[in-house]
């Protein structure tokens, strides 16, 4: 009985080169593992065990906490009238336009029915804007020399370098 193989010419045997595609499929599972592991690592690092910051400055607080901080500053200003101190404290929050931020926050609180806080915020915003409009005579008369950069301090009562009293 003749078989298909017997029809072949032994001198012209078909030669099938090895298929290279299985090597590429093999590498893809490694890439998948890397990507999957990377996603797991990022989720763990950002949500499950995020970095905990210590000894932060007020400008590193989230917006909600900054709002509370700003409100407290405004309420104290409403009591004391000390604009200079309030300005120094507001500067710690690194708002680009403190007056505008205060005004926006006042409007939000007014819409929420928190009138006392809204009034305090609006009062401080108005005082800051008024202070910006009135030029300081000492600034006009002072010579235009560059001032040294001092470490930011939260109150006037703190020395410039609290680490070295």
């Amino acid at each position: 009985m003749k078989t298909p193989l017997s029809n072949r010419n032994e001198d012209t045997r078909e030669f099938n080169p090895p298929d290279s595609s299985p090597e590429k499929r093999t590498n893809w599972y490694l890439v998948t593992g890397l990507v999957l592991g990377f996603i797991i690592g990022v989720v763990f690092a950002w949500w499950i065990r995020p970095v905990v910051y210590y000894d932060i400055q007020p400008n590193m607080l989230n917006e909600r906490n900054k709002d509370i901080y700003r409100t407290t500053i405004a309420l104290v200003y409403a009591e004391t009238g000390d604009l200079n101190r309030a300005s120094q404290r507001l500067a710690l929050l690194d708002d680009q336009n403190p007056g505008m931020v205060l005004g926006n926050q006042a409007q939000r609180y007014l819409a929420e029915g928190q009138e006392v806080k809204a009034q305090a915020l609006a009062l401080l915003a108005a005082a800051l804007q008024q202070n910006d409009m009135v030029p300081d005579e000492t600034e006009i008369l002072a010579s235009p020399e560059p001032t040294a950069t001092i470490e930011r301090v939260p109150t006037q009562t703190l020395p410039i370098h609290p680490e070295n009293p």
Partner: protein, 118 residues
């Protein structure tokens, strides 16, 4: 080791390396956004200044509950412990005596209230 076993081994090794890379990325290169920062993590001088603001507001409002609520915003420690630390820092930083007295007054009233409760 069979080919399938080695594939599993390398796959889990790749996952492990990916997790390591993800942790390095999430902890070192691009840490979590500041949404995870808490007022409790503020530096001591900023906490002391905030304590002074709370004491100032308490002096005018005379609302101990509100003052305690504000203190809990800035510190997870018991109010008297936090105020004691703040006063100690204020004294070392040479705060105005009037400011220190405000904080002392608040701490005293909290102590009196706690004694009444006990």
């Amino acid at each position: 080791m069979t080919r399938q076993t080695s594939r599993y081994l390398f796959f889990f090794l790749a996952i492990f390396l990916g997790i390591t890379a993800g942790l390095i990325f999430g902890w070192v290169i691009v840490p979590a956004p500041h949404a995870h920062t808490s007022p409790h993590s503020l530096r001591q001088d900023y906490k002391t200044d905030f304590a002074l603001m709370i004491a100032r507001l308490y002096h005018s409002e005379d609302n101990l509950i509100l003052a305690l609520s504000r203190l809990s915003f800035i510190s997870s420690a018991p109010p008297l412990v936090f105020l004691n630390d703040a006063i100690t820092y204020a004294q070392s930083a040479r705060y105005d005596l009037a400011d220190i007295d405000l904080m002392w007054s608040l701490a005293t009233d909290i102590q009196i209230a706690l004694d009444v409760v006990e």
